[in-house]
Symmetry: D2
Subunit: 244 residues, 4 copies
């Protein structure tokens, strides 16, 4: 039995993780923490081996460090990590011999979408990403969109720039953020949980890879899998697909 602490226990993802951990025969819910609680002390007191963290981008680094410095491994669904963050986490967790999984998305369909996007962009290098989330999401663009753009950029040496540099008539930019040459657009509306479209265009045709999450249950198989595999790892693992 692995002992698990859920950090961000009052949030919707935290609640779903608590249910999923409680229902699993090989996992034990050792503690629940949230803003204001002493996570480090809870790890020590309970002897938990793993912390699942779904909290806020503003405390992303502080939480990872608290987890690994107190002897636990980390399964992280919080978003907002920069390249510098990831390098630092990899170095620190290797030194401490702890595993840290950071997954922009725990849904198998989303992982497939990201892999297909990178494959398809080799043949259809004109590509943009539009992601849609509920209007309480704290960051933009989503971690999944950033991860997708990174995978595309790694797979394709040169995604093509627009043929025409459009002149914009509104003060703010309508053409989205750029990661490399991949443009990302973020829509925030009630009536969405988490949706992403990767759009690849070519002469006279296009291919759209769309993933839609309609509730948080869809992430739980991925979270549980990560809990069961993270203790064997050291250093940063970025993306659920690395554990499949």
């Amino acid at each position: 039995m692995y002992k698990i602490i859920v950090n961000g226990a009052k949030g919707k993802m935290g609640q779903a993780v608590i249910s999923a951990v409680s229902a699993d025969a090989e996992l034990e819910l050792a503690g629940q923490t949230d803003v204001g609680d002493d996570l480090g002390k809870t790890i020590k007191d309970t002897g938990a081996q793993i912390v699942v963290d779904f909290t806020h981008p503003s405390v992303r680094m502080q939480n990872v460090r608290t987890i690994i410095n107190n002897g636990a491994s980390a399964v992280i669904g919080t978003t907002g990590f920069t390249d510098e963050d990831l390098k630092a986490i990899d170095a620190e967790s290797k030194k401490l011999k702890r595993g840290v999984l950071i997954a922009p998305n725990f849904g198998i369909g989303a992982v497939l979408m990201m892999q297909f996007a990178a494959q398809a962009a080799k043949y259809m290098p004109h590509v943009e990403i539009v992601e849609y989330h509920h209007d309480h999401k704290a960051d933009a663009p989503s971690g999944t969109a950033i991860k997708t753009a990174q995978l595309i950029n790694e797979a394709v040496g040169q995604t093509n720039p627009p043929a025409v540099e459009s002149k914009e008539f509104l003060a703010e930019r309508s053409q989205g953020a750029k990661l490399g040459n991949v443009r990302i657009h973020a829509v925030r509306l009630p009536g969405f949980v988490a949706t992403q479209e990767v759009m690849l265009g070519a002469l006279g045709q296009r291919l759209v890879l769309r993933h839609e999450t309609i509730n948080r249950e869809s992430f739980m198989p991925g979270v549980i899998l990560a809990c069961k595999k993270i203790l064997d790892k050291q250093g940063l693992i970025y993306g659920l697909e690395k554990l499949l």
Copy 2:
């Protein structure tokens, strides 16, 4: 028989208009002009009553003025007009007793989409627009997207702001341009002609109004209709729906 000049005759829209005008029993193609030609002189020489203009945002005002100052009425598909532009055109064309139709979109389906968007936003005031065009389009966002946002803003006193002001992690903005509180996102890829989605969200549901143009034939019934009705008008008419 109305005598028509097509300005922007070398462009794809211009070519489609030339075919459509030539095929219509009540219209006569009196001339074709493009960059470098003297439009004013051609109007005088041919005695054309109407100029259909599909050119470039950068010459939008110059062309309208050339048309009405030389005694013709104007059917304009060029985009990029600002509020100040529209006011000036209305005043100048009234003074000259000429009609100027400016239509962000000549497709009946697009006009329906815009009207439905304004109606639906009264009940579902959380709304964003994503428009998709080919990568040779010279402006962003599209005239149709701007017109849609204007209609929504006129219909709804207050479209709701996001519940959370998202923190952005990429240097450029992913959340699009704003017109009032309506956010607009512009995607530019080969494999599109002109597509727009108006997305309205509410608790647990959403309504999406999507219009897709796959070739320029779809605009021709609207352009021909406009040619046949513009001679009876004076001043600015903004939007094909005003002629339906």
Copy 3:
């Protein structure tokens, strides 16, 4: 305070209605019934004025009759009613001076989609419907799809038949069911709650009206509204839009 019984209390919609009724200051949850319970006796014992029914198509008529014959009004979300059913309910409920609301869909966005579909079909009479529901739904096509097709058929004298009668190469029919000339396609997959697309085509363009429900909360404002208005009515009211 109106006294409400929820019939189909063990189902997911029933559970959502129980929560919504319990949370409303003007409504009182007087009873919960399901398969095997005596609904008629429960109405008598509790003195409930209204029964909200989300049960199974196979018992749709029996339940409506039990409700109105025991002196209550009915708010019905169960689907599967035929034209003959609706006529019988109208006649019987008028005789008993009870109101019966049958709504294929309690979501405001869905009601807007249906109205827009009927309006747009006047200008774009080539139309088909694709509806997507979870794979536990007991009937096909959905009540919302049937209602939409009826509204289109009422609004448009003639929706156009296909230009070519396609030859089919598979034993079963791929081109869907027909209601009048409107074809309806039903997809049943996990990962959907309730989604519908009305697709209207014309030369070179199309308009798609898409409504997506991602959880049952979206229906509750409509159910509560219906409970508060049904006591003033007699006979059948078909469609939530009649109460707006």
Copy 4:
């Protein structure tokens, strides 16, 4: 220089192929044939090595046989071939030492969609296909949809049946045609050229692979490639991906 005959020369695809062949430096347009012409004689007279055939499902077998029996290789875009057809063509073309490429779709994006569908179905075995074509298409479902379903059935031992066998309330079937357990729905409307969605559902999530063709130019790179590779082959090659 390969000598090419285009059969179906008066059709829209035929016209596009004629333009593409004429524009290619390594190919020579040796002849154009259509209904009423003697294809066999034209092959003999011109000495053409390859016939590109985009005609009608009703003459699919007759044309293939005429081509290979007169000594040419075949690049076939016509649809409607059954399993028995394909077996017969493979046997006959091997005997004659001619190559026959039959491709349900010549677009690279469509080929990617089919491959991704088969891969994803291993992880998400609940899958249905909806295809959308213009209303002059002579068969349903499309060759691409049938090919996609075949690839999914080969990749996945068991695609899951619906959890509930839905009761249908309309006389004709709304749930589409079945190939194995994969349901296929065919929409026929103006405003489409050729679009397909493969929808894969799982608990709380779904993945949609959508390919959209907006004009026939998109197929030409695939047709030209097939012409250049087919002379090296013998027997049936089914699917453009086999030549990539």
